[in-house]
Symmetry: C3
Subunit: 262 residues, 3 copies
């Protein structure tokens, strides 16, 4: 079996507890995605307990989609815990180009050296300080245009940077991988990108981040391909996607993964 | 083609960014409804950034279902931005009859002249100062009983007022339209009314509010009719409803719309 | 007809307004569960209005899954209202073993004598002060191990205590019931346990809590059994589960309930 499926097998064997401080739109579907994939999700955000909880988790995800100042501080607390403990954490800079508040928080989060930064092309460009303002959460720029920015951001921060798009791009600044799995209906279901952060975090537990990230993207995109076979639209696609995350075997993932060196 | 479908066609051609400050129950389904229909949703509520974000959006929706004082201030900020910029914004006075806090906030929001006010009969009656207390978010009063209140409210505020029910009623105070599309399972799926606000806002971008609102109601109700054909209950109805929002063509909407002058 | 179905029949006849202060992950699915089952859900949490709203509701549920200090105070306010009015309220101590903040709040909520406390084995053990720390929201301990703790907790608090698991256990400290309905996919859909709290609360309106709780568990588990017959995975299971909650008749519930005296 090629490596991709092994990451899924290992993740399911441990069912790691993944702590998520994410946006309100994503919370339910993200928890369902993680359960279907085989991980154990938890959402905890109050500063009175978030850092204490983070220390119990194997990995953390931080998503700034619907931040406010109190949540921002909890994100920083928890990211600091994970950085101190050497555990993986994933940062999703949703809509970072849209407001100054997001930009300021993102700078502070980047200082805590996320294991993985995942966003669309506009977000990665904005984060790297190279792009113009995106419009909200859409990907107004192509993945290709963001590749240079992704490499520079990875070198500067020490993070693995993943750019989501029709073909995903993953880099640690020197090496790079492309993942060609996915389906056109995925952007038509809200928060599937946000939910992916949790799967990346779960795959990174105990594994090298660039390969684990690419494996998570391949597994996720492959579930999209399976779901797309019978879907009538975004409603039935979402249902079939959760079923596929649950049903896919490590062997099927290894056979279907389209990961190549960039 | 009759006008109803043209509103859908225009909306999809632009895929307008719709900023929503809505309740926690509605957020995920509302984003999925807007994506399926063809718009671009975003949810942003922190006062530190909400007004800045609103200025990037083509339209705004405000829903007081799960308000707290901080969110209330952000709603007022953003509604003020839209009023100043002359962009459409939709106000949904969820459960306004239930508490004094909701009534006070609703008065302040009405002062900012929403483009459209949409609610059930009890909510519109409470808002117009004519009705008794509703019990939470249910429609304890009939649409017919609310029509006089709706006309008065529209005249007083300058808003288009839409009363949701088995047959919807839309008025700007002088003219009025009825929309007879819909399905009996729609009230059995939570937040479909809340999600409709976003579709109304998207249809109002660049179009006159009374006609755009009626067209949005017809499109939405027609998707319900399509979904109801194969649904086994509220679970499968919701799935089919998202598929139908995505699949309906402008031509099908024009053919199936049941909009009449009241 | 045996009693179990009668609880469902009575609940649907009244469609009681159930006030829920629950976690962000659960809100949408919980509202859909309550609508499908035949109750009227509402989510209200701001301290400026929550107690006023609680007084309009027939029952309350409190769930500490994603608490913060402001929500905690609203929970205490509303639980106090229900205790004063003699109306049922259900407490779900999600992840109580994980942090000190949850433990302190849970002690204060228990002082307000919940009608029903529902949790998994780890949570009930932690709450009774007998168990070690759970890891987040998982059930690391068996239901059997929690039975002694449940009886002690019930005697100490005066609450009915329900332990969820493959076979549920319900006790008021002296008597006890077991409910053997359910399906293996239920823990693979997020927040189905949280949503169950609302159904328990709705069944408790006007009925004795131990029997009503067992009836709610049987109805809920039976819907899971129906859903499991055609489900391809957790996505299609959730859809079919909502359909089944809506379609199950009181007669079918009485025929399929597996409630026994422990």
């Amino acid at each position: 079996m090629d490596e991709t499926g092994l990451y899924l097998r290992d993740m399911r064997a441990e069912a790691p507890l993944i702590h998520n401080i994410t946006n309100f739109v994503a919370m339910n579907i993200m928890a369902n995605v993680l359960l279907a994939a085989g991980a154990s999700p938890a959402m905890v955000h109050a500063r009175e307990e978030a850092a204490e909880f983070a220390a119990l988790a194997r990995a953390l995800t931080v998503n700034i989609g619907t931040i406010d100042p109190a949540w921002a501080e909890a994100m920083l607390d928890c990211a600091g815990v994970m950085a101190d403990l050497g555990r993986p954490w994933v940062f999703d800079p949703v809509g970072v180009g849209a407001t100054r508040f997001r930009q300021d928080l993102s700078v502070r989060l980047l200082d805590l050296r996320p294991t993985v930064v995942r966003g669309n092309a506009s977000e990665i460009l904005a984060l790297a300080g190279l792009g113009g303002g995106g419009r909200g959460v859409d990907a107004g720029d192509s993945v290709a245009a963001a590749e240079t920015a992704a490499r520079a951001l990875a070198l500067r921060t020490g993070s693995v940077v993943a750019v989501s798009g029709p073909v995903d791009f993953v880099t640690d600044g020197s090496r790079a991988l492309r993942v060609a799995n996915g389906h056109a209906l995925m952007p038509k279901v809200t928060a599937l990108g946000c939910s992916l952060n949790g799967v990346i975090a779960a795959f990174c537990v105990g594994h090298p981040a660039p390969e684990a990230t690419a494996a998570a993207l391949a597994f996720y995109g492959l579930a999209g391909e399976v779901a797309g076979q019978g879907a009538q639209g975004p409603g039935s696609f979402q249902v079939a996607f959760l079923d596929a995350l649950h049903a896919l075997t490590p062997e099927a993932v290894s056979a279907g993964a389209k990961v190549t060196v960039a």
